[in-house]
């Protein structure tokens, strides 16, 4: 009698990151190698719980003997690779990417990008003082989350989370071309009329707050969203027996947002409508004063 166990294969590769050798498991990416080497790398469309789609190009690095720059988030590390993360070419490319995004979208609620803007000297307004915008009203179609297209950088994360990286609902995808390209429901249906099941996993992965929980949107509208004061407590959802870990974001002794940790084996950061939005019974309606 034998028991089949899961195979545990740990072979490694060694690559050079800015002159320092780094050893990582086979199959790991250059981004993993950079992280291990202590090199901070900007990312926008990358998330550890989604398949890389190489949309934003801000994480590019220079690999010796490679004609083009390569996106570190998806490029698998190979034995002996020699990687530069801070060459003139890399810095220039990252700066351009950040400038183009800043000139076409509202990055005001993506504070994680600001240090990189500064570091690479990105000046979006050199393409014109008035940044180009979609100039659409924020779509508020229900009480759970809103869509602000001016903030969307088309990183595809929401599409991935809605699709085969997690939810398998496929309610949204890319539509249109050029500057008119946008994430849309089928035939641009309103969310309640679309296939959307309101898991909110798209909102959770959005890097720029283009998708935003309604509670956050309402509190921001009255200038009362105080993220720096919020506590985050990890607990377990009560709506079924799966045991999804929740992070309760609390401001003024009131839950204002619920997320799930990306690094937990049960959820990988994803939740369903009940876990994500079903907490309001714990407290009276949130005051937006």
């Amino acid at each position: 009698m034998t028991i089949s166990e899961t195979p545990v294969a740990i072979s490694t590769v060694t690559v050079s990151i800015d002159g320092a050798d780094v050893t990582i498991p086979e199959g790991a990416t250059l981004l993993d190698a950079c992280t291990k080497a202590g090199v901070d790398t900007p990312t926008i469309c990358y998330a550890e719980n989604l398949t890389p789609v190489n949309a934003c190009r801000v994480c590019v690095v220079e690999v010796e003997n490679s004609r083009t720059l390569v996106p570190s988030c998806s490029r698998e590390a190979e034995e002996g690779m020699v990687v530069q993360t801070d060459s003139e070419r890399v810095r220039h490319s990252r700066k351009m990417v950040l400038e183009f995004l800043g000139s076409g979208t509202d990055l005001s609620q993506a504070p994680q990008l600001a240090p990189y803007m500064e570091h690479y000297g990105a000046e979006p307004d050199r393409y014109g003082p008035e940044p180009e915008r979609m100039n659409e009203d924020v779509k508020v179609q229900d009480d759970l989350y809103i869509r602000d297209y001016d903030k969307c950088v088309l990183c595809y994360k929401c599409v991935e989370a809605c699709g085969d990286d997690a939810q398998h609902t496929f309610a949204i995808s890319m539509s249109g071309r050029g500057f008119g390209a946008r994430i849309s429901t089928e035939f641009d249906a309103t969310l309640p009329d679309s296939a959307c099941v309101y898991c909110g996993n798209c909102v959770a992965v959005c890097p720029t707050n283009a998708l935003q929980f309604k509670t956050e949107f309402d509190l921001r509208a009255v200038d009362n969203w105080r993220e720096e004061e919020q506590s985050v407590t990890r607990t377990v959802c009560s709506y079924c027996g799966v045991g999804c870990n929740l992070e309760l974001h609390v401001q003024d002794d009131t839950i204002v947002k619920v997320t799930s940790p990306n690094d937990h084996s049960v959820t990988s950061g994803h939740l369903c409508i009940k876990g994500r939005f079903g907490w309001q019974y714990v407290q009276p309606t949130i005051t937006t004063k």
């Binding site: 085969d164 959307c196 309101y198 079924c240 799966v242 937990h264 409508i273 907490w279 714990v282």
Partner: protein, 540 residues
């Protein structure tokens, strides 16, 4: 059959399994994040067979949907078993080494030919054969179920019939293969683990075992009654006989959730004393003599819960309970104190430490480890033990880990208790929808854009025959009561069957209709099968 009660595999394993039988479970809506793991398995090439009278949203992801006649699960399982035996696809080495009673079992399924099975279940013989062969020939395979299996008068037989399939094929006790009852609430598993069962002490130790009792008595300092207690369904029967005259209800809403609800309410109203400890003024609390306001378990209290994969995890207080609401353990402590037992003020970790000393399967789970390791799966007997992803590996050990072989359990088909009659010719079954939960006490607190309220799902052909339209309010009656509710025409519901959720008792008091016939062994009522009729309301 195997000892302790719990799902035998981890969620991770379904991502790597080859064949999935999703049997009486709509996990897509009732366990959505588990379904993510299942979808990863399908993306990795697993085949899925969905067994459910309804064409549920889960079954739409299956390779094959087996829309069996409601309540014919044992007949289907026995037919599958016979076909596996007939085609020589049994795991003979496993049967010989790890099981007992095969010959008697073989004989018991002999009547369930594909023809007979097909007749009872209403399924094509080919479909049954295909599922049987896929399951038996898979390298790894899992059977998942929920209340579609257990909310029947023959619930235990239903479960045993599925366990038999695992024993025939050896799909148990190794990575990727197993039996998975998905739990409906965040601590159903933990409640059982902690001894909230009439015949168990914490850690599935037996009340009737003097050694087990002595261990607890030494720590608790009181004598523990030597006889098993009784479960909820028997408690209601004891109320009826006047033997139970007082009840203390903690975090449960039986005045909305019990089957044949009018009857249950009458019994609760007739008690001399009803104490309800809850976070809300539920319908049960409204009937109570004393209401003790409690705090929310997962957001206002410290403690642990245990999931469907036996993972013990920490819950933590993030916000302050309102008004005079208190932690459950503090309320119980106060009551004990006034009854003359001063427990002091133990923290939840103090209580957990006591439990660790009493329940061997939790022995290695300190709060520190639970926090550092993202929870641990029992059994985890000591501090060096990594926890157990799957159970029953002993079945594959040469000496069976010193245990006896696992027995086959011959079971026979018995359809729903309540037969269809001329007066009540239509089947009613109940279940959950994605955005709501149980009697709606919690999920009623948020505004879901996809909520449609309560409605009776009927097939278009039945709607035609009854001359009823989408959204029309009708009178729905069972032998126990009548309610008015709107119609939702659904092609996914078979002819002759109707379905509704039970999330909105204020709107539609659906448990006036459901049947409280129950399984003597599990104590579970047959929520899943009542007989009803549908009548038009007199035209306005």
């Amino acid at each position: 059959m195997f000892g302790a009660g719990g799902g035998t595999v981890s969620y991770k394993e379904i991502e790597e399994t080859d064949v999935v039988l999703l049997w009486g479970s709509n996990a897509r809506e009732a366990h959505p994040i588990f379904f993510h793991h299942l979808m990863t398995g399908l993306d990795n090439g697993a085949r899925m067979y969905a067994v459910d009278p309804r064409r549920t949203s889960s079954s739409k992801f299956a390779d094959l949907w087996l829309g069996l006649e409601l309540g014919s699960d044992v007949a289907l399982a026995n037919t599958v078993a016979r076909h596996i035996i007939q085609t020589g696809l049994t795991n003979d080495e496993f049967i010989a080494h790890s099981t007992e009673g095969f010959e008697a079992f073989k004989e018991s399924v002999e009547p369930y030919t594909l023809e007979v099975g097909s007749q009872i279940t209403g399924l094509p013989a080919d479909a049954i054969a295909e599922m049987a062969e896929a399951y038996a020939t898979a390298e790894t395979a899992q059977i998942l179920w929920t209340l579609g299996i257990t909310e029947h008068h023959n619930a235990v037989d239903n479960v045993l019939s599925l366990c038999n399939l695992a024993l025939l094929t050896g799909h148990i006790g190794r990575w990727g293969s197993g039996l998975v009852p998905l739990r409906g609430q965040n601590n159903v598993q933990g409640g059982g683990d902690m001894g909230a069962l009439p015949n168990k002490l914490p850690g599935f130790q037996n009340v009737t075992d003097p050694e087990h009792r002595a261990k607890f008595e030494a720590v608790y300092g009181v004598e523990i009654p030597a006889e098993d207690g009784i479960h909820l369904t028997l408690m209601f029967e004891a109320m009826e006989r006047g033997e139970i005259t007082a009840a203390y209800v903690i975090g449960e809403n039986p005045a909305d959730s019990e089957a044949d609800i009018n009857h249950a309410r009458k019994l609760l109203e007739g008690l001399d004393l009803l104490v309800v400890q809850d976070i809300f003024m539920t319908r049960t609390a409204e009937l109570a003599d004393v209401v003790l306001p409690a705090s929310v378990g997962w957001a206002e209290s410290e403690g642990t819960v245990t999931s469907s994969e036996r993972r013990v995890q920490r819950v933590r207080a993030a916000v302050t309970p309102p008004g005079e609401a208190k932690h459950d353990q503090d309320i119980l402590g106060e009551i004990a104190r006034r009854m003359g037992y001063d427990w002091g003020h133990p923290t939840s970790e103090d209580l957990w430490e006591e439990l660790r000393g009493l329940s061997p399967m939790h022995g290695g789970m300190t709060y520190e480890r639970l926090e550092a390791e993202g929870g641990l799966q029992w059994p985890c007997p000591d501090l060096d033990h990594p926890g157990s992803p799957f159970l029953h590996g002993w079945l594959w050990e040469d000496d069976l880990g010193g245990r006896g072989p696992a027995p086959f359990s011959p079971v026979v088909h018995a359809g729903p208790k309540e037969e269809l009659t001329e007066q009540f010719p239509i089947r009613l079954t109940t279940g959950r929808s994605l955005d709501s939960y149980n009697t709606g006490v919690q999920s009623g607190g948020y505004d879901s854009p996809i909520r449609y309220g309560e409605a009776l799902d009927v097939n278009p052909a039945d709607a035609d025959r009854l001359d009823i339209e989408e959204g029309e309010w009708v009178l729905v009656s069972s032998p126990r009561g009548s309610v008015e509710m709107p119609i939702r025409i659904q092609p996914d519901i078979p002819v002759g069957l109707t379905f509704t959720t039970f999330h909105f008792p204020e709107l539609v008091d659906i448990n006036q209709l459901t049947n409280d016939a129950w399984d003597k062994r599990s104590g579970t009522a047959e929520f899943k099968a009542a007989a009803i009729r549908i009548e038009k309301l007199t035209s306005a």
